[in-house]
Assembly symmetry: C2
């Protein structure tokens, strides 16, 4: 197989973790006989510095001519005081919207060898294997009007039925491929958009008799993600709730530094990035944890290219390196061996190479 | 001191836990020489059944002639299919709005003897002592337009500067009385209302040089409430974020069943209720945990009546009964003695009586 990928290293530790992930990608290509053509472009703070634009036209164009995007991270104190249009995260919001990447997939799975780092008791966190499906291009993030008024400010949450239908359908499909359970999250006791959301889920579930569906209020899910995260399989929700709940979910297994994400649309195109941020405080030191970006490449192989075996091989290798007791500094604990970003990546690559 | 209190037992376990809390209130009155005049009225499902209205005019009128309101809980499966206007929680939303109860105070404090019930590791949860201050009468809960449209639905988040100012001021005052730290939560990288919110906090902080202020994004707080809840003192946020974060915070110490809340406005008037719901599945069995409602009475004494010593006495008594190993069924564990709602309340009352 031959594929074109646009690589957007971004800011902070972005370039370092992306370099690691690209190495792993190329090794997988070699081993399974695929050719991945990479093109590099800027986004976020780096793009503001070079082009005075967090998402330059050149970047958009290159992405348009690619099959998938690999992103590091954006942001840093350098640009924190910029006006809204010249802030790094604006590049992120715009690329999502431009490419209509409406489904944000955030898997959270406990790695047994990382559970000591979890704030939760082992017995609460150990069976976690869930996927949050967050609507990413609608809701209050993009609704109009959004403005200052004479004596205050307003934001608007807007959803069309079609927008809800496509994300809900996506979640049902994922539930079918995973554990067969879907939890739809809303605030139907207060919001009109939530009542619409709930109706769409109710209508759609007739097409998926094999999927067990529950509706839960967002406040109640915020509790249950902590008290009983093992309960969940696929969780689907709107943009703002998804932002909060997916970040909440990301810390329950102690593995925030190793969580990947995918932002996809109806076809095979998608953007893949680690859940963690640009971590400016450790940038340039070669100590960042590349696992989340490497696992994001695995998601790319699976969701954009349909390469399941290849994706599984990366996941297996990452797990094996953790099980062998090798960690980057963020996951340090008694008895573990601390490696640099590159050394840790080497371990993953060796694991892949030697497993022919 | 003489005070009038309207008691709204509500639904499910509401009447049972309220009865316990009223007994404790009367004992405190006797011991400290105060007279509390109680009037009873309906709200929620009980009010729908009797008056076809979740917040009848008689109830409003009685509350208007009182100094404070004690509420049990509302809701239950019986009314779940009702149209929005005839649902129990509508009574709650309307009473908040009618009495302009704009500040919802939700303290979360670890009881050492309850930490085994926490999903978090002991070392993460043990130092928790925070107060979430949630704006309760604005934002997307009441903003217009909120409606179905031709092809979808919309909700509107609205805040006036004055609405933000009064809640922020309230939070600063509380921070000054507590640990001197305030975390303001918003989504200023996306929302206009959040940028307004942040500006107001920045302006207000000049009047409180003794309070240490930080701004945090809601997604980041959703994480940190789990990874490092001991970091927080007072946390102030808007209505919808507050709904989610205060429920999230309520489970970190394992003591959801014992958490009180206050909903107050500028003067001394306020509504006090447990954080837990109506728990219809155990209603009428006499096994509900009355601690949260008893502690809500303590908040009433403190915030509406300025009776600090009396409030502290209730808190001390509740703690002592837990430390003695007495629990209601929800908190059962090895070696604990399980008491009924009334028996457990007796223990608290004895503790107060014998401590002259
Ligand atoms: C940076 C910010 C705008 C963004 C969001 O809220 O979507 C981030 O928190 C995320 O979840 O990717
Ligand atoms: C019942 C519901 C409308 C209410 C809210 O969202 O405010 C509840 O969750 C609460 O927090 O008191």
């Amino acid at each position: 197989m031959e594929r074109k990928i646009t690589v957007l290293p971004g800011d902070g530790i972005g370039p370092e973790v992306v370099a690691s992930a690209v190495r792993v990608l190329q090794v997988i290509g070699k081993r399974f006989n695929h050719t991945f053509h990479l093109g590099y472009a800027t986004i976020g703070g780096a793009a503001i510095d070079q082009h005075n634009n967090p998402l330059p036209d050149e970047t958009i164009e290159m992405c348009e001519n690619s099959d998938a995007i690999l992103l590091g991270a954006v942001g840093g104190p350098k640009w924190d005081q910029n006006p809204p249009e010249l802030r790094p995260e604006k590049g992120l919001l715009r690329i999502r919207k431009h490419f209509d990447l409406f489904a944000n997939l955030r898997p959270v799975k406990a790695f047994p060898s990382l559970l000591d780092a979890s704030p939760l008791k082992r017995e609460v966190a150990e069976n976690v294997d869930l996927m949050i499906v967050r609507e990413l291009t609608g809701g209050v993030y993009f609704g109009e009007p959004r403005m200052r008024t004479e004596n205050g400010a307003i934001d608007t949450t807007v959803y069309s039925k079609a927008e809800v239908e496509r994300i809900v359908e996506n979640a049902f499909e994922l539930a079918r491929l995973r554990g067969g359970k879907l939890c739809s999250v809303d605030k139907a006791n207060v919001l009109e958009t939530s009542r619409l959301w709930r109706e769409v889920v109710e209508a759609k579930k007739k097409e998926y008799p094999d999927v067990i569906v529950e509706h839960n209020l967002v406040d109640s899910v915020a509790m249950k993600l902590i008290t009983n995260p093992g309960h969940y399989d696929v969780v689907v929700t709107e943009n703002m709730f998804g932002d909060i709940l997916s970040d909440e979910a990301s810390v329950i297994t102690g593995s925030l530094g190793v969580l990947p994400s995918a932002s996809i649309r109806g076809d095979n195109f998608g953007l893949y990035e680690p859940v963690h941020g640009s971590a400016p405080e450790i940038a340039g030191q070669g100590v960042a944890n590349p696992a989340a970006t490497i696992l994001s490449v695995a998601m790319m192989l699976q969701y954009s290219f349909g390469l399941k075996e290849e994706a599984a091989e990366i996941e297996r290798a990452v797990s094996a390196v953790f099980d062998d007791g090798y960690f980057t500094a963020d996951l340090a604990r008694d008895g573990s061996r601390i490696l640099s970003t590159n050394e840790w990546t080497d371990k993953v690559i060796n694991e892949i190479d030697t497993s022919f």
